[in-house]
């Protein structure tokens, strides 16, 4: 009963398959592995061989052992998260401590999603344990409070901007603009219609699967210079608003006041992050514990060593992946995605509801290969496996071989391979912030 949400949909998968729904999958003309497809009885040898293959590239950065800890090392856990009754797999969590600025009045929030695909710290209002942080005020002195509406493809996150002192592991930052997600309607103004035009509200623990998001991605601000334009030069949906107690109007938000990647405000170790997760069996693991490490090449423990640096397009943070015959120029690494999302029409999607159908359920585990190329010309091959999600253990929250269909937009030339959390198992992955020297290269880049 731990994660009924996920298994409601997957029970439907199994039921349909049993009725012959999987019969139309025909042949998949690629090498397959028996390791993941067979049940747990064959576990140790087959799973260790497959996990070593998927983690093969980790040997390039194998010198990093963070188990000794250190001021820049924070444990992260892939596990059931804050809502065991509705939790999902492959979401990495850390704890953060926020304090009312210039005070020792603090609270620690567990189960905050560690996300290399976004920027800025966002915390659910309901998770602050009653702590009232200082709201950021409109610089015009009208007493208004600044709020942010962060867009997603299907909706938005909404809530006030606050200024807090922040501690993550041994790193501290002061006066950090963060976003308080208004998941409990404690923020009185009405959500403006130009914000709700993004779709549905994602301001809830259930919909994010976390008590907040620690965005440690490739940029310093979540929006940047555009949101500092005069309002007349912006257009709906706006990111920042100036709010009275009842209504909000679009606002110009100075770059320095925007919700910020907290890493850049640390005194040191402020040019990027490392995520390291252990290799796990092809059949999955109940949980996985790894490390979020601050700084790249700033301490004895966080050098690039032999990692391959893939510089990305500074405009949108993407690199190129070649997979099968596809050249996917908008690819990215993303610890906030819970699978590997890439297009392969020969792999059947899981039958079931709209959520199950986003994932792949091959008839046997597939061993595949992608090649990544950075803007710097550096290349790296990525072996990976895709298993039948419906056959993986319902008690495992860390799943190595999960794939799904990307949203492919024909005609726009924006196809991508989203290397989500399975990519991070068995690897040490570096995310360097735009414009920051980090080891032998300058951000924005990914390295592993």
């Amino acid at each position: 009963m731990l994660h009924a949400y996920r298994w409601t949909l997957l029970l439907a998968v199994v039921a349909l398959t049993a009725c012959g729904g999987g019969g139309g999958t025909s042949t998949i003309s690629r090498s397959t592995s028996s390791s993941g497809a067979s049940s747990s009885s064959s576990s140790s040898s087959s799973s260790s061989s497959s996990s070593s293959s998927s983690g093969a590239s980790s040997s390039s950065s194998g010198g990093h052992n963070f188990s000794a800890g250190g001021p820049n090392v924070v444990p992260i856990t892939v596990g059931p998260g804050p809502t065991p009754s509705s939790s999902f797999f492959n979401i990495p969590y850390a704890s953060v401590t926020v304090c009312i600025a210039d005070t020792s009045t603090c609270t620690t929030i567990q189960d905050v999603l560690v996300d290399t695909g976004s920027v800025g710290l966002r915390l659910m209002a309901s998770a602050l344990n009653g702590l009232t942080l200082n709201e950021q005020h409109d610089p015009s002195g009208n007493g208004n409070v600044i709020a942010e509406c962060l867009p997603f493809p299907d909706g938005y996150i909404w809530g006030p901007v606050a200024t807090a002192d922040l501690t993550i592991g041994g790193e501290k930052a002061s006066a950090v603009p963060i976003n308080i997600i208004d998941d409990n309607s404690s923020f009185s103004p009405t959500v403006p219609s130009s914000c709700t035009s993004n779709g549905i509200s994602l301001s809830s623990v259930d919909l994010l699967g976390a008590n907040g998001v620690l965005g440690v991605g490739l940029y310093t601000q979540d929006c940047g210079p555009y949101c500092a334009y005069s309002v007349s030069q912006q257009r709906s949906p706006y990111y920042y608003y100036s709010c009275t107690a009842s209504t909000c109007t679009p606002a110009s938000e100075a770059v320095g006041s925007q919700v910020i990647n907290p890493v850049v405000l640390f005194a040191t170790d402020n040019n990027g992050v490392i995520l390291q997760l252990p290799a796990i069996a092809a059949t999955g693991a109940t949980s996985a514990t790894g490390y979020l490490v601050f700084g790249i090449g700033t301490e004895a423990n966080n050098g690039l060593e032999t990692a391959t640096v893939l510089t990305v397009n500074p405009i949108n943070g993407t690199f190129t992946t070649v997979f099968n015959t596809q050249t996917l120029s908008f690819s990215f690494l993303d610890s906030g995605s819970n699978g590997l999302f890439f297009l392969d029409n020969s792999i059947p999607n899981c039958p079931g509801n709209a959520q199950a159908m986003q994932f792949y359920c091959p008839t046997s585990t597939l061993s595949l290969l992608a090649m990544n190329e950075g803007q710097n010309g550096a290349m790296s091959t990525v072996p990976f496996q895709i298993a039948d999600l419906s056959k993986l253990s319902q008690f495992d929250f860390a799943l190595n071989d999960v794939g799904g269909t990307p949203t492919s937009i024909m005609g726009l030339g924006t196809s991508y391979f989203d290397f989500g959390l399975p990519f991070f198992y068995g690897r040490t992955v570096f995310t360097a912030i735009n414009g920051m020297p980090a080891g032998s290269a300058t951000g924005p880049y990914f390295a592993y």
Binding site: Y5, T83, S86, S87, F88, N90, I91, L113, D115, G117, S118, V119, P151, F152, P153, D154, G155, T196, S197, N198, G199, I200, L202, D206, L207, L208, G209, A210, Y219, D222, Y226, S232, Q233, Q234, R235, S236, P237, I315, N316, G317, T318, F330, F332, D334, S337, F341, A354, Q355, Q358, T405, P406, T407, I409, M410, G411, L412, G413, T414, Y416, D418
Partner: protein
Amino acid sequence: MSHRISRAARALPAFVSLAFVWLTSPASASLGGDADSVSADSVEFKGQRLRTAMPQFDRHDITTGSGTVVHEYLSRAGKVFAVTWQGPTPPDLRQLFGSYFEPFRSAAAAQSRPGAHRQMSIAQSDFVVQAIGHLRTFQGKAYVPSLVPAGVSVAELE
């Protein structure tokens, strides 16, 4: 490409004046709407607009200040049958989808799952949406199959 741009450039003056006429009109639906709604979008998005005439449709390009480009495809029957967008910020989907905005919201709610939300896809019999978005990159396409002119390949619409 130069061919298209030159045609668009010739069409520009007439449409600038039309857009001016409709400045005072209420914003109306776009997807599934008529030519008026294209002009309404141009005003709403505060964007510059170009028209490219094709045999089976007109493509109206609206470029907003963030650099995001919206394409609206208007059939010879006078209906917007498809829209696309691409750029660092998303467009106003309520404005762009018009009467299809609530179906969009309903479908989004039905398929939403925990974790970071990077993509969404709707494939209903007469309403299709493909959208992706993460930090500083948003792209999407939406169309109404029953309004697509015969012979037009939606997959090839930029």
